[in-house]
Amino acid sequence: MTRRAAALVAALALAAGAAPARASLVGLQDDRIQTVDGPELEARLDGLAATGVRMTRVDVSWADVAPARPRDPTNPDDAAYRWSRYDAIFRGLAARGIGVIADFYVTPPWATRSGAPNAAPRAADGAAFAGALGRRYSGAWPDPLNAGRHLPELRRIEVWNEPNLGQFYFPQCRKVGSRYALDSPRTYAALLAASYRTIRAANPDAIVVGGVAGPVGDTSRVCASADSSVGTLTFIQQLARQRPPIDAWSQHVYPIGSPSRATFFPSWSTMRALARAVDRLRKGIPIYVTETGYHTSYNRYHRYFVSERQQAAWLRETFQQAARFPRVQLTVWFNLQDNPYWTGGLLRADASAKPAYAAFAQLAGSSPPLPPGWAP
């Protein structure tokens, strides 16, 4: 390739929002981090940092931050908002040099008729909160505890979590006559579009991440009931019809079988098919795998499990697979530690290390520093 052609390719890639080819960043989530405060939070942050990880994902619970309806929901300083825990989390992560991607979900009771935390919110309500989140963590918001300093920037914000699954976003389908018709892509598109505007208005550098799609590939029985789960491909296809603005697609991948051999959708072998589908939303945008992993014992939420030794081997293989796809810029292992409902941790529930812990630490320790735009 001539120098001119290479420059043209690079320019086109940048114009399309694609990053230059490099190995996927290695991430690790600790889902207990947003449930603790004070010394316990500091201990968990230290525990996360001890793995050597440089990127993490944080679930922001809208219901926890806004237990009551704010008068001005776009204003992070509204008296109804409770940010102190998240201030501490993002401050603590930045102090440890760990970059963050954050997702927000969990509908507050005041924002829904049913009071259910998985109720799909009105797009305007969700977007107002997204805007407040984006503003508070734009990098320009004064830190209430440290005069003269600013709260860290959240450069990447995921809109919701697994909106294609009834467990997190309800209803998926609405009754039309005697049948159910798929509706979640339409309502989610409205939430994504409205959130895109408010987040970008708060921080023009922010990258708004859509999808955050749960690991469902099968769409053969879509809309058997109001809470049917929707396969990723169907979800993207329907979402694309609404043309919501989006900067990156987030996908959750929990293969049945080894990372290099599993063929069910979504898995690493179907990543090209996923990328083609995502191109219908916006050509060439990055893909973030913001949850992946293997469970080491059976639980009713994840019925597939592997041995602890397999988990360690397949963790290495997961990141090898991720490196094959330059478009997959980030891969986050979920989770740091087991709980009774989730056994994909690097640590067991009693905090003893599984073999995967050492495998992850070796991988994270040998990763290059975060590139600009990712580092805190």
């Binding site: 049945i256 079988g257 080894s258 051999r261 599993a262 063929t263 072998s269 469970h295 080491t296 014992s297 059976y298 639980n299 009713r300 019925r303 597939y304 499990f305 592997v306 041995s307 602890e308 030794r309 397999q310 009774p340 056994t343 067991r348 599984k354």
Partner: protein, 362 residues
């Protein structure tokens, strides 16, 4: 207890009159199988109230990869013992940790059950199914390589009980774990020492019963020639009594009020039942090899080759199977036999299927 005694007396009288394992004519047979399952999966089955519950375990082979599965189905039955609607796949276990073998399925009444999703290379999960909303409760699931291994499980009143053997290379003894199956995992869990060291297949739990035979004292040695029976509780096992066997014990099963053993007897195998509270030994079958066995609803069933025998007292022939019998289950009214035939479940399907026949005991 009074009912137990009266029943035991009646059973003893009838047993004296009826020769063991004798049956000249099959019971009136169903005209068609209740169900046809694709493939020759390993099967574990039991009745629970008016449902048949069965686990089907097999390897799933796909073009580039494979995994192991155990699916546990609940098949509701009519009062006349016919299938009512399609069986529901209520517990689904998938793994790549090792091959899965026949699940231990123990009915708990009302369509509920406990399943031990057995296999090699991992500690089997134990799942109770299910509450009114059909939500299961995972009673035991431990991914450590030296995790305790569930040998037996059952629901005993309001408690689920699990007999755990120490994991490979792990110290410690056998434990009896008791928990409330209908609440969150780990809630109100009691852990007590178990007064034996049974081998897999040589232990059973049932309401008010813990029965077991100790495994070989040395590698390669035969298992114990004594079966122990006691009363389980949250504190352990009480009132243990010994049931001498004619030779090394090959199988131990139990359901409410009944313990069934199979043991070597000379060159053959002897199956005996023991009814509570007397625990008097009654040989119900003698044969050359260990048969497929089931106990439930006060009845015993076994499959000796293609002959399916069952009864509330002595055994009699209830069916001649169309193929090798993979498993049997029995209630006070019905026998289920899972028969392997070389014919597809549906036109164009895999060339093997398992036919499930339901036969009346009367």
């Amino acid at each position: 207890m009074t009912a137990h005694r009266a029943l035991a007396g009646l059973v003893a009288l009838l047993a004296a009159a009826a020769p063991a394992a004798v049956g000249a004519r099959p019971a009136p047979a169903a005209r068609a199988p209740a169900l046809t399952l694709a493939g020759w999966d390993a099967i574990g089955a039991d009745f629970s109230g008016t449902s048949l519950v069965y686990g089907a375990s097999a390897a799933v082979r796909l073009p580039r990869f494979g995994y192991q599965r155990t699916d546990v189905y609940r098949a509701p039955l009519t009062a006349s013992g016919r299938l009512r609607g399609r069986p529901a796949d209520v517990v689904v276990v998938r793994t790549s940790a090792g091959p899965m073998t026949a699940a231990g399925v123990v009915g708990a009444g009302g369509g509920r059950f406990v399943v031990i999703a057995r296999g090699r290379g991992f500690a089997p999960p134990v799942v109770w199914c299910c509450d009114a909303a059909d939500v299961q409760s995972v009673l035991e699931s431990d991914g450590r390589s030296d995790a305790p291994v569930a040998l037996a499980a059952a629901v005993d009143g309001a408690r689920a009980r699990i007999l755990l053997a120490p994991g490979a290379g792990a110290g410690g003894g056998f434990r009896l774990v008791s928990t409330d199956p209908s609440v969150a995992p780990g809630f109100d869990r009691r852990d007590a020492p178990f007064p034996g060291r049974p081998a897999p297949g040589l232990a059973a739990l049932a309401p008010g019963i813990a029965a077991w035979a100790d495994g070989p004292a040395l590698p390669g040695a035969p298992p114990s020639t004594t079966v122990q029976v006691g009363v389980p509780s949250d504190a352990g096992v009480d009132g243990v009594c010994a049931l001498p066997q004619p030779g090394p014990t090959l199988a131990v099963m139990a359901s409410a009020g009944v313990v069934v053993t199979a043991a070597r007897a000379g060159a053959g195998v002897e199956v005996a039942r023991y009814d509570l509270p007397t625990l008097r030994r009654r040989v119900v079958w003698r044969g050359a090899r260990l048969p497929q066995l089931a106990v439930g609803g006060g009845a015993v069933a076994l499959a000796d080759g293609r002959r399916v025998l069952a009864g509330l007292r002595g055994l009699r022939l209830v069916r001649r199977a169309a193929g090798p019998v993979a498993a049997v289950a029995v209630s006070s009214r019905l026998v289920a036999s899972f028969e392997r035939v070389a014919a597809p479940a549906r036109p164009g399907g895999a060339p093997r299927s398992t036919r499930v026949w339901l036969t009346g005991l009367a």
